[in-house]
Amino acid sequence: MIRAELRKQVRRPRTWVTLAALAGFAFTLTLALVVSGPERPEPVGDVPLLIVPATSGLTVPVIALSSTMKFFLPLAVAIFAGDAVAGEARWGSLRYSLARGLSRTRVLAAKALVAGLLAAIAVGLVPLAGLAAGVAAFGWHSLAVGDGGAATALNPSLATFAPAAAVGRLGLATAYLAAGMTSIFAFALFLSTVTTRPLVAVAGGVGLAIVSRVLNADYLPGVAVLSPLAPINDVDLWQRLFLQPARTDGMVAFGELQAVYVAVFLGLAWWSFRRKDVLT
């Protein structure tokens, strides 16, 4: 069943358009950095890190991840998850799968696994495309990270990573970011089992990301009590992996928060899908 689902989704134009858009973003970003003056330091994230694109191609995937984590990646993840069940319901093919006596749990699991795989590919594609384009544009050199919180950009570097070490940290950062998207994925998948309109489920996933960002004590001090519960507020902690020594405080707690949201939303998706009256 998983292979059949994978075949269906892989041959779908939406899949390729979404992935191409993400890869295209990384290439466009690289082009923009080349054109707009790669010697200028780029602040990255809330830490903030300061990196100079021209110093190494490894700077581009870091900038790309930072630029996409708040909207484009949640959108891509929500597209794959939100369309998983609702898309088939809209086509009408879902009822024929279920009418052949397939287990609803297995159908949902297959859809969730394939959508999860595509979402993971989407998250991984951004740094990979950024790395490819960055190395082509700026070369394969050590990654120097400066202190963006200091008064000037001329402060000495916080750290310098050899290319292999930088790639390792980039891998960890990507994995952390992917984990940070799981709550959005699970929420969009849950909505996908409730509605027959994929757009509603996708919008719901993106909406959760937006609401999460709004419930941020940095922007709205009055909601500080809710801030720790916001599903993706701490998704940018990966940037601390590029400090020397790397800081991981808060990352485990964020992972636990994701696990809770994933358990709740996937549980709701399973409960909803098993009980759902399939009317389309």
């Binding site: 069943m1 292979r3 059949a4 075949r7 269906k8 041959r11 779908r12 134009p13 086509w91 009408g92 093919s93 879902l94 009822r95 024929y96 799968s97 279920l98 009418a99 052949r100 006596g101 397939l102 287990s103 609803r104 749990t105 098993r274 009980r275 009256d277 399939v278 009317l279 389309t280």
Partner: protein, 312 residues
Amino acid sequence: MAADPGRPVLRVRGLSKRFGRALALDGLDLVVQPGEVVGLAGPNGAGKSVTFRILLGLVRPTAGVVELFGEPIKPGARALARVGALVDGPGFVPHLSGLDNLRLAWRLTGRPEAEAGLGPALELAGLGEAIRRPYRTYSHGMRYRLGLAQALLGRPDLLVLDEPATGLDPGHLRVVRAAVASAVERGATVLLSSHVLPEIESLCTHAAVLQQGRLVAAGRIADLVGPAAAVHLEVDDPDAATAVLSGLPGVCRVARAGDALGAVGEGLRPAALFAALDEAGVGVLAFRRGRTLEQAYLDLLETAGEPGSGRR
């Protein structure tokens, strides 16, 4: 695997379904025996489609039991693997070809491709080379034929067809007839619904009439039509004809459907009937003695209180 002799293919007991405050099915009982071709008739909202959806495990009943091949039906029931269905129109993945869609649908069942019977299904659908085109490029009729081919995959023991020919050209009806005939030939049971009663009359051995979620009548079509003395007319002025027929001696009931009228009674004399209509200036376009299923259906709905049916 053929249906077990002696055990009903389908047994529905006290089936009810409520959507919010709307009662879609109200204590439906129905039994379908192996080899029968049963037509479900009834006006819109009578509960035909929801009955199909429940027996396919797509909708959960509020009350009652559905058994297919002796197994209570719930989502994922094993008995559903023996059912082929076309319900609420076809549903396929738009970017895949018709052939890929059929193969994909079959692969999902996890059964060997040799059991699919893809060749006969494709032959029946008659899509030719178009079977390799993306589904989204198909016309309405082609989509239905592909849906029919999907329903026939695996040579199901029960074929469920919901309004299989509604809104389609006569050529498609021929394909539906062929599908039903091939299913019956290999001993399968067929359950279909239609608004077109002549279609049910020509395809089915049995019929069940639903109204407002309840079973009004069920049985062999010959029994439902009955031996009642009746005439069936098509006239150019149905209002005047209804008045004339209602006033004739021996006529106990007149029912109307568009320009068609049916009169039931004792000792009906066609000559007297023609004379009376002629005198009233009503032209007779068609005349037939005896009842059709359509007439029996209208009578049944009348008896059950269907609004809009003329009743004397």
